[in-house]
């Protein structure tokens, strides 16, 4: 998320202006946050066109519910929460199996994490990025969501707790399991080459 700059109105000021029927103010909020929302959607659903549709739904929902936004929360956090819910709704409808993923069933994956070779020794930077993109798409949605917010969007666990409404220990475990599975997949890829 872009940081507020001193010479520009803060998100809170833009929200207040939007509520006062200043339509240009909400346009500025879109300019600031659209990229983050599109990127989150893209990596959650794996399709840019769908991600842009989800971003549109997110901003539309935010605009309609703007009067319910509480100033004690960051606008970006609030927006992420709406976007994350839109993504999960999309996954439930378009990929029904993914929405019901049993987290406990993946505990056994931890036992097979160790690999003989480090992936970066064999894959080029670009190959790693491409394979990582694909591997992220194969993560269970809840791991994917937590991993993306932590390592792609660079949020803190405190912010993630606020966005997802889940306690920090659970989030840390999901992030860790996401890392483990991604690491295992990249290592396995090397073994096949």
């Amino acid at each position: 998320m872009p940081l507020d700059r001193q010479d520009e109105p803060s998100d809170a000021q833009l929200v207040a202006s939007s509520l006062a029927q200043d339509q240009e103010a909400f346009g500025q909020l879109i300019d600031r946050h659209a990229a983050a929302i599109v990127n989150l959607g893209y990596r959650m659903v794996g399709n840019r066109a769908e991600a842009e549709d989800l971003a549109q739904e997110t901003f539309l929902a935010a605009y309609k519910a703007l009067s319910t936004f509480r100033a004690d929360s960051k606008f970006s956090t609030w927006l992420y929460r709406i976007a994350a819910n839109k993504c999960k709704d999309w996954l439930r409808v378009k990929r029904p199996g993914e929405g019901q993923y049993d987290l406990d069933a993946d505990e056994s994956l931890d036992l097979y994490v160790t690999e003989d070779r480090t992936p970066e020794l064999l894959l080029s930077q670009q190959q790693v990025a491409e394979e990582l993109e694909r591997a992220i798409q194969r993560l269970p949605p809840l791991y994917r969501e937590a991993f993306l917010l932590k390592h792609v969007e660079g949020l803190s666990y405190e912010e993630m707790e606020e966005i997802l409404g889940i306690n920090g220990d659970t989030l840390k475990m999901r992030v860790y399991k996401g890392r483990v599975q991604l690491s295992r997949e990249l290592a396995a890829l090397n073994q096949m080459r």
Binding site: E115, T118, E120, Y176, R179
Partner: protein, 226 residues
Amino acid sequence: MNEHDLVIQRFLDHELSPEERTAFLQAVDANSDLRRRWLNLEMVAVEAAQLPKIVPSAQFLSRLKAQVIPAPPSLLARLCAAVTAHRTLEWNFAGAMAAACVAVVAVAGLLSLKPERIVEVPVTVTPAQTASFGAPSDPKVFVRLILVQPNAQSVSVAGDFNGWNPAQTKLDRTDGGVWTVTIPLKPGRYEYMFVVNGKQWIADPLAAEDAGDGFGSQNAVLDVAI
């Protein structure tokens, strides 16, 4: 999660104290298995942070704004809104006939000159001139309601005088999109609203007085006196 996994996780999440980090790095140096596990996970975290970001195009942002934010009313729309604002007049028969003649001649003249435009003619509203009809104990005043709505398919009025039933009192369309109705009312105070196309309730922004309806909207108020 074993002890190694836990310390790797805490290292990646920047939760180790400086002393713990030093101890961890020393352990990594001495333990190849721990080093391999850490590097695999560290690489995932580092690569994830460097994944290319989509930059939304200007076209997408414009489309997004257009779809999310309602367009501000254009100058033409604001002009139409001003022109189509409705007026309420009260008059007696003599005054009505005279005013009607003047209005018809004026409107017809203006329309013949500029038929493609709607011209709002300022009308000076004088104190209500009324006439009594019927028995002295049951006097009534004829009140004419006027609403300019060129695009409306139907206009009716609902108020205290008709039990808030818009189907009971419909306005007639005349030239220029002017809708009118004349209704006899006993002296008193009435609240009312226009109903356009059977569904759009319009309060009278130019009414001399308005009152809250208890639901967050305003009704126009009409005081009828002899």
